[in-house]
């Protein structure tokens, strides 16, 4: 019998919360019974938010007193809620104690316990997936009501950027692209652009830049700006390739409509759905990538874009701030460390200002544009740096 089953990778069930509460309990029970005593238990997102409370309120007294927990939050939007039955089921048998504001009770609904809040309160340390998103979660509304809890526990809160697997995402060894290239053979990138145009039936004109978007189509990713970026690119004589999947039917219909509408346009291609192989070719073939997210805990596409010499045009939120540095206006990095274009307001004008700077550079100073792309390729966003940070964090909480 499979308790954990849905098409979409385990989510979307009505009683998901109870199932993952059970999973958290079972994981600890398994560690206990099989005599595993790790130095660090590292749990992730709301699904495992009850592990820190369960460890320190129950399992600690059964022989797991030396274990330390790091709790990593990848997305504050889904926090995991439940009523008193979660407490009864998992054996946290003291309703008034756990329903206290200082523990598991949701900050805005006094009759509900919040898994993620429990993780924050009880973990030895907790983090989110980029330094700037950590700041945002603490000081703005992107933590969806947990701002005060973070404030109270700020002494054990940090942000660590996610790494990118350069074994998979590396234009020098990529199996999915026709012409591998690197910093020293950047001109080979043009062959991928040609291949991409051929594959998607775009017209092959030398003096047209190619802009892409790869990712989900939803509110978090700033879907209205993605839409605008497409038409702005066309208006400025550029080509646009969109690879994305919509989760909401309204947005899905909207983009199917656009796809049909633009079907005969030789400068744009919309591919709806998920296509790993095509995404490699798009990253390799495009000149620029837009990432106009509303919020972005870390963001992967801009980092992949950088590795493939595809200049990112991003909105300055979350992890995007920590990875992309504006060519013209960044005040913290030397010109030779900058790698893209950044805008801040979530509206069409701001997007256009960044896109027009990028396009202007591509049209009028191609060698400068290429220099910027190569500077992006030279950035290191592998797991090397984050791995070191996580190990340092483990070492610190281990001796607490």
């Amino acid at each position: 019998v499979f308790l954990y089953s849905t098409q979409l990778g385990g989510y979307g069930c009505k009683d998901d919360n109870m199932r993952f509460a059970f999973f958290s309990k079972a994981a600890l029970e398994f560690l206990l019974r099989s005599n595993k005593r790790p130095d660090i238990i590292h749990c992730h997102d709301w699904q495992t938010g009850l592990i820190p409370p369960l460890l320190f309120e129950i399992y600690k007294y059964h022989g797991m007193g030396n274990q330390r927990v790091l709790y990593t939050i990848h997305n504050f939007k889904h926090q995991g809620f439940g009523g008193a039955e979660i407490l009864w089921a998992t054996g946290l048998n003291n309703d008034p104690y756990y329903f206290s504001y200082a523990r598991l009770r949701d900050n805005f609904n006094p009759f509900v316990i919040n898994f993620m809040k429990g993780g924050i309160v009880f973990a030895n340390y907790f983090n989110t997936v980029s330094p700037h998103h950590a700041w945002e979660a603490h000081h703005t509304d992107v933590s969806y009501g947990l701002g005060h809890t973070i404030h109270q526990h700020q002494h054990k809160f940090t942000g660590i950027l996610n790494g990118l697997d350069y074994n998979i995402w590396n234009p020098e060894v990529d199996k999915f692209i026709p012409a591998p290239y690197g910093v020293d053979s950047f001109s080979e990138k043009a062959r991928n652009k040609k291949a991409l145009r051929e594959r998607l039936w775009l017209r092959d004109e030398a003096e047209k830049p190619l802009i892409c978007y790869v990712g989900r189509l939803d509110d978090q990713k700033g879907v209205h700006l993605v839409h605008h970026a497409m038409y702005y690119a066309l208006a400025r004589g550029a080509q646009f390739v969109l690879l994305g999947s919509a989760t909401e039917s309204l947005i899905n219909n909207w983009f199917w409509h656009e796809k049909n509408h633009l079907n005969n346009n030789p400068d744009v291609h919309i591919e709806l759905g998920f296509n790993e192989e095509l995404s490699h070719l798009i990253y390799a073939g495009a000149d620029m990538i837009v990432v106009p997210s509303n919020f972005e805990p870390c963001g992967l596409t801009q980092v992949i874009g950088l590795k493939y010499g595809t200049v990112p045009i991003v909105r300055g939120v979350g992890g995007l701030v920590n990875t992309v540095f504006d060519r013209d206006y960044d005040t913290y990095h030397q010109p030779e460390e900058r790698n893209g274009f950044v805008f801040f307001d979530p509206d069409n004008n701001a997007l256009e200002s960044a896109m027009s700077r990028a396009l202007e550079l591509w049209y009028t100073q191609p060698e400068e544009f290429q220099k910027l792309a190569i500077q992006g390729m030279e950035c290191d966003y592998s797991w090397n740096g984050p791995g070191e940070e996580y190990v340092a964090l483990y070492e610190m909480i281990r001796h607490k």
Partner: protein, 91 residues
């Protein structure tokens, strides 16, 4: 150090968003740095079983306390591209 990752996803066996990639990538990096890493995941019916090597029963009859009683589980074990994973399956 001995580190256990507990998560709902791990690429490429079960992946809905970026979380799965992070869990796998971090575990791999930690092992390269010489740490011992194990993962605990739920056993989904829709996992990519072709990406798990040597799946076998690792702990039979795990009774997990639940609502004053207990629920019977089995724990399976296998390698996902070199990472040692335990999959918990409730009955």
């Amino acid at each position: 150090m001995y580190i256990v990752q507990v998560a709902s996803e791990c690429a490429p066996v079960i992946k809905a968003g970026g979380l799965g990639d992070v869990v796998y990538g971090l575990s791999r990096e930690l092992e390269i740095r010489g740490h011992c890493v194990e993962l605990i995941l739920p056993m989904y019916d829709c996992m990519r079983y072709d990406q798990i090597w040597g799946l076998h029963e690792a702990y039979r009859d795990l009774w997990v306390p639940w609502y004053g009683g207990a629920i019977h589980c089995n724990v399976f074990c296998g390698w996902v591209h070199g990472r040692l994973c335990f999959f918990i399956q409730p009955n």
